[in-house]
Subunit: 564 residues, 2 copies
Amino acid sequence: MTQPGKPSQSRPNGGATPDTAPHLEVIPLGGMGEIGKNITAYRYGDEIMVVDGGLAFPDAHQMGVDLIIPRIDYLQQHAGLIKGWILTHGHEDHIGGLPYILPRLPRVPVYGAPLTLGLVREKLSEFGIKPGDVDLREVDLDANVKIGKSFQVQFVRMTHSIPDNAGYILTTPVGRIVHTGDFKLDEEPSDGRLSDLARIEQAGREGVLLLISDSTNAERPGRTVSEAEVARNLEDLISKCKGRVFMTTFASNVHRIGNVIKIAHRQGRRVVMEGRSMLKYAQVAQGLGLMELPEPLLANDEVGSLQDQQVLYVCTGSQGQPMSVLSRLAFGNHAKIALRRGDSVILSSNPIPGNEEAVNLVINRLYELGVDVYYPPAYRVHASGHGSQEELATVLNLARPKFFLPWHGEPRHQINHARLAQTLPRPPKRTLIARNGDVVRLGADEFRVTGTVPAGGVYVDGLGVGDVGDDVLLDRSSLSQEGVVIMTAVLHPTPHVEIVSRGFVRANRDLDAQIRRVALEAVEGGVREKKRLEDVRDDMYGAVRRFLRKVTGRNPVLIPMIVD
Amino acid sequence: MTQPGKPSQSRPNGGATPDTAPHLEVIPLGGMGEIGKNITAYRYGDEIMVVDGGLAFPDAHQMGVDLIIPRIDYLQQHAGLIKGWILTHGHEDHIGGLPYILPRLPRVPVYGAPLTLGLVREKLSEFGIKPGDVDLREVDLDANVKIGKSFQVQFVRMTHSIPDNAGYILTTPVGRIVHTGDFKLDEEPSDGRLSDLARIEQAGREGVLLLISDSTNAERPGRTVSEAEVARNLEDLISKCKGRVFMTTFASNVHRIGNVIKIAHRQGRRVVMEGRSMLKYAQVAQGLGLMELPEPLLANDEVGSLQDQQVLYVCTGSQGQPMSVLSRLAFGNHAKIALRRGDSVILSSNPIPGNEEAVNLVINRLYELGVDVYYPPAYRVHASGHGSQEELATVLNLARPKFFLPWHGEPRHQINHARLAQTLPRPPKRTLIARNGDVVRLGADEFRVTGTVPAGGVYVDGLGVGDVGDDVLLDRSSLSQEGVVIMTAVLHPTPHVEIVSRGFVRANRDLDAQIRRVALEAVEGGVREKKRLEDVRDDMYGAVRRFLRKVTGRNPVLIPMIVD
């Protein structure tokens, strides 16, 4: 809970004495040392600018948690200093936290490209947040906006797996910062609009104090496959399919889906789109002219007289999500569509870490149904949205930063990114491996962590935000391992004990009777000795704990209750 | 629970009428349609022969389960017919179930190679099973044993990731069966002993009725990397390490560990071995002359005066297991050893599906400690023990079977293996994609599933075998998602309600009070209307369920109790 060391707001345009030399603070509140829930604050004097506001998905140990949003204590504590917000793109890990974050902070201008803001609007309206409550300001991908007195933001178009994706060049009183945002350097992007490397190169010539760059694929050699190559491979594959084709990918991959719609048209297939999130993204993208439809989409019940080789379904389920269209098809419980031999299913995606098992289950079920299943790596029908080592090196070489902050990655990615930078002809003078909450102080000759602010995740579970903490998750973990046994001792008129369990063992009257006897003995002993109720309860707990450990080798969660 | 259709025991050497033509039954009880818990029964007339008896590890949804053993109802029901057992190799998924299986069946000869039986003996003694209770018979890897009157078993040496690994050629009254066992065709095995393809080729010339072959890597093109190449890459990598080296791999990979010990010796490093399972395998292997030690292993406290570059640790933890040596090193809670900058850690392994997250966590922690971490694919320091498509094709081409049963794989692996077979010059006449419990009837011209027997998994949890079923796991899953809320209503003298919860939300007195009020209203209403106790309980349950859903958006496990 440390506050930033020597915050500079007392002397916003402070003098030149060494320890109060003008400096900026870069404060990653999410997305640093992890992949997910990106949010970064910049502070100069009494002005704060914020970038993105994403969410993360829980890992296997965060049981029952729906999603995780970043802690924003720092922003709330300095709410009055926030001058504006910029959004780099519309992925959940960059905008998914906004419905939780924005309402808790003052209304400030939020700048973003059309698709990004379109998706934010959808999201806010789902949460019942009125358009007027948030000051969304649409900008082009080469816009230049001023935030407060200290921050000049030049958006920079970068290719990624969603349209309208941007990095930015931030001009501040201490110097120039280049933040790549999420990016790859796709040389054949679907919309023909390349990453704007000229701006980064120009910044490099003019001097870049700090580069903040995407580390996701820092361990991958070479270049990331182009979206155009994915499209060619999909076209080739689909042209060989004889029956119906079902294709799934990330709903946000608007270009990929647009390409598949074009491919279908060229091959005489009408497209049916299935799945709520797929339809939502498509609707927003179409409204903005980002997804062209050579023919209208069909609803499933309009397919009627078409032959199998005249239909292509685009559907949700690339991550094996249980309620998605593809999962329901694989498990044979879709209300309207049944897969059959002769159908082809294309997974134009890779499982996100944590989803491997779910995706594998779906793939196996598809094989069992006798359909033809196509997925990477055997079929090159997916490409990452993040650049590999050669692309990362290109950006480092163009920006030629004095300081370097590898971002958007776990420590393994950050550190490999840092090492890559050291192999280049003009390595950065200094690289920091930062974590969420670090206060990175940046000056002309200064680049170090001077303190920390609260950071981490807030769990969202059902309607609750933050009412599930690690203590609750620890309980859930214990419950999941051995279940729960509840012992209720009623003392009057004569002591007796009731046993109820869930998730412990299969209904077992003998064992229940034994537990009851062990518990009752402890209770009767305590009553005889006129012990206090708490002590009787503890005796019962201890006796049953020992008994179960000995007889079953297990440690269920034990809940002893005494009714006097 | 179907019994095999028309079991042939009534006419063991049955006549030639079409429906009673002599035939064999191949009954996979585990390992078919899955990777894990391999066990296969062959039945001819009134004789049964069994192969292997493995275990499987639970997936993420089988919460709290320690391991899974195959159901052996079929073997128990026909226990008197079992004439003998053979073991292909010493991996857990082939022998790990034996301590549970063998004691429940009559004592019959169990044939296996020295290392395999050495590991079985260790295992049985851990379970307190006396050596005399099991009839273990050590055989060479080219042994020929007769089981009952009907089964002639010719072991066939095959290379794999553990020494003393075998497939076998089974000569039966209906024809010849080739079962590869787990295999790769390593052209440079560590002990110089190649797979005995000559025998398979000879069987192919003499006529193979059925091939049962390992499908694990049927989706991988090309050949699996040789163990010799892994050793070369390890040697190259270790020679460049300046400080201490910590290397982990599967404890059963005796050859790999032996190679690393030799590499260490050549490079002037003494070897310390850490971790119980690592030491156990090494001890058994050394006793059999399968792991040579150029110098004695050191204990950690003997390292004393050695310099960092004179030490190499071989340790457990390649799968991110929380209590393993590598995990304790990564999380800084090993009692005697602390990693430091300058150390190198080599993960000579890949995560088994399901372990990705745990391994990733360990790798990230190692990076954070500042040690150098090496692992695939960036460093080619691991090779699978299973052959890829070219190797699978080689075996199919040599065996030239009439019928084909792709085994040791999930449906995706089995089906890709089947497709591979169809692309070869002499494809099998018929391929079956079988599942556990299928009764595959095999005759000179017959190859089909004629029925099923009980099969599947029995969960082992603590000391309990089979007392946790899918119903219990479903409860555990519910508990893990939302926790449990227990409402105890005491009716006399005046009704009141106690609320206890675990894993639901952070302690929240307001919410508890509200739940109590809602529950109490329902109870008081029921009491006023003189409802039956069960109905009062159901009312309380329903009222609280609705209340929680509305207020929290959640569905914890609710346990209502009434004390009259």
